[in-house]
Assembly symmetry: C2
Homo-oligomer: 396 residues x 2
């Protein structure tokens, strides 16, 4: 009977897929059984999703078949949805079946955080998966078709994006780029189309360099985006949004990008969570569970200033490196590494040919930043799939 340890990885997002890829390199033959579990048979590139959501890129460019990324002879892949985690029994319940583990890696991703705003869950769309962005793209196009039937319904041409963080800003940039094409395709006067970006915080892109934020807002305003900053959404209804100011914006399309929380299953499993996230120890374990690693949106990592780092692809991938190393170390009885986040910079796209960013300590903007954004995207494809994936999915 096999006595080799069993590693189960839940989720093939940034954290899960990179952990799997690292493990298949570092583990020796028969050193561990690794099983990757994911809802879909593809990994998707979350940082790309704003483009297919706006319809400016094909969703195919934002996903990669998992079996192209992992070596099936080294790692098992199970396409199923996780239903429950039972840390006491070292079991994971799937929609179809059950898996036992010795080591568990939780990289299940986040869920939209609606901060209790009434109606947001029911009436707003979210940019969070291939299915959801295809839905948004089709929904947006459908509004143009509907408007041509009922030209008095300008709410069909009003698009509300809640949240001016990274996803919100990148999405309005793409949407603003798409609108002229949609207007041409459906014979719609572009002056009738409105895009609102609404943010409760006192600034767009909270935490980002103010000079770059101003640059970004000017670029987007020139593309036709109306900002309402320091303005909370009080309610979302089937007819649009009501703001804290009392103002009502009639809109058939509300897209919420205002927050992410951890997966609801973590709390249900008995882990201590904050907004559904587990504050991991310095070796990335869930506190008190030295066989459970938590990565990405499900984890909280504190900065030296004692504030949680925002959950990004970058931090997930760095976590995955440490997680894979530590799993191998635990199996071999060697020393574990401590996780320390090394921010390498951030670039936010503002649509075609425009972006802003910080690389190292250098501010960049405009075309140079857009090129940098593209390089970061290509680098990621290279990390997970090498040159062949760069050539296949990279948009040049």
């Amino acid at each position: 009977m096999s006595r080799i340890p069993r590693i189960v990885i839940l989720g093939a997002g940034y954290g899960g897929i990179v952990t799997a890829i690292r493990l298949q390199k570092e583990l020796n033959y028969n050193e561990a059984d690794v099983t990757l579990v994911n809802k879909h048979d593809y990994h998707y590139i979350t940082t790309h999703l704003h483009m297919p959501a706006a319809g400016t890129d094909n969703p195919e460019n934002a996903r990669v078949n998992i079996l192209k990324l992992i070596d099936e002879f080294k790692i098992d892949f199970v396409k199923s949805t996780v239903v429950q985690i039972r840390p006491q029994e070292k079991k994971v319940i799937l929609e179809e079946g059950t898996l036992s583990y010795d080591y568990l890696v939780i990289g299940l991703g986040g869920e939209p955080e609606t901060f209790g705003i009434p109606g947001l869950k029911e009436n707003a769309m979210n940019i969070r998966s291939i299915n959801s962005v295809r839905f948004i793209r089709e929904h947006v196009e459908y509004q143009f078709a509907k408007f041509k039937r009922e030209p008095s319904r300008t709410d069909y041409l009003t698009f509300v994006v809640g949240g001016a963080g990274f996803t919100g800003i990148e999405f309005v940039g793409e949407l603003a780029d798409r609108i002229p094409d949609l207007c041409k395709e459906f014979d719609v006067d572009p002056s009738l189309v409105k895009i609102y970006n609404i943010e409760a915080a006192p600034t767009a892109l909270p935490g980002f360099d103010p000079e770059l934020v101003e640059y970004a807002m000017n670029v987007l305003k020139n593309k036709g985006v109306t900002f309402k900053i320091a303005t909370a959404i009080k309610e979302c209804t089937p007819d649009g949004v009501v703001l804290a100011t009392g103002e009502e914006i009639k809109s058939a399309t509300v897209i919420w990008t205002g927050g992410i929380r951890g997966n609801h299953m973590l709390e249900e499993a008995g882990f201590e969570t904050m907004r559904g996230r587990i504050k991991v120890d310095d070796t990335l374990h869930a506190p008190g569970h030295d066989n459970v690693y938590v990565l990405g949106d499900c984890s909280i990592v504190m900065s030296p200033e004692g504030r949680p780092y925002p959950p990004t692809a970058q931090i997930s991938m760095q976590q995955a490196d440490v997680c894979a190393h530590n799993l191998v170390a635990q199996i071999r009885g060697s020393e574990l590494n401590k996780f320390e986040y090394k921010p390498k910079g951030t670039v936010a796209s503002l649509g075609r040919g425009e972006a802003i960013g910080i690389v190292g300590s250098k501010k960049i903007k405009g075309g140079a930043a857009a090129v940098m954004k593209k390089l970061i995207d290509l680098r990621y494809l290279y990390i997970i799939g090498g040159i062949p994936l760069v050539l296949k999915k990279g948009r040049f």
Copy 2:
């Protein structure tokens, strides 16, 4: 003051646009003022609409800018919607303005005939204009996106086409061709998609050669179409259709192609109508109005057997030739021609590479018929716009 007669043409469909093109050739300088009125600034090729409706062709290929077809120095063009015809006053009321005429050509096209079936007007879509086919295309795509959100809702993947006449048959052929692409795009199992074609008459394509009808149905059945022939729709609801048999088909998409009637303004104008159509005299005048010509879907022409010819592009164009000749003849005081329909054959497309048809007295089917269909389409482009239009809009 100008005493030259004023000709107003209502509608730039097959009848109206061909009449205008013929008049601008035949009329001498200052012999008449001709004004063409149309709701849109484009003419659309109704016989193509089933393709953009299914999403198998770009709607741009089904329309032509009117100013590319007429010579603005010879013919005035007014983009407006006709609101009322006042034959007593020789006036036409437009949404923006009023036109007086000495001669009127009515080519306003038809409206869907729902035969009083409850709910059809409110809940079914129609293939009748560029706007309506863009709507259908977007609606169909949206259903796939919605299904991915709610996989229990198979009604999102059930498409009901009411009517198995020309439009119905040609549309289901295209839709069946589009489904595999949509399934691939949205990761949907093709076996979940259902296309129903429902016809109350005892046969599909009533009046067509039975051998060809059987061939057509077999081609379409092999593409996944389910026929319900000799089966009336009793009711259309927001949830689907109820058949006369009591069977209910749950569907989020009902497209009605079951009938065409004349424009409602004709009856309001005091003309004697049958299903909104005017039975024209043998010089194409509305009875008792020797200055009013009626063409296309607004007109009825009786066959020698005493039955109305089905309204087709072909008959409209032949009417336009006679109408233009007779207008010139009336102005010059020369002899009017009598209209006699000369059926040149009919070809119905069944989707990619498949068609059936009668040309002269010869039955054709399969690839040869599909080629013939294409030639007929190209011939029409040539008639209205010459070689340049054939090159621009012809799909080869």
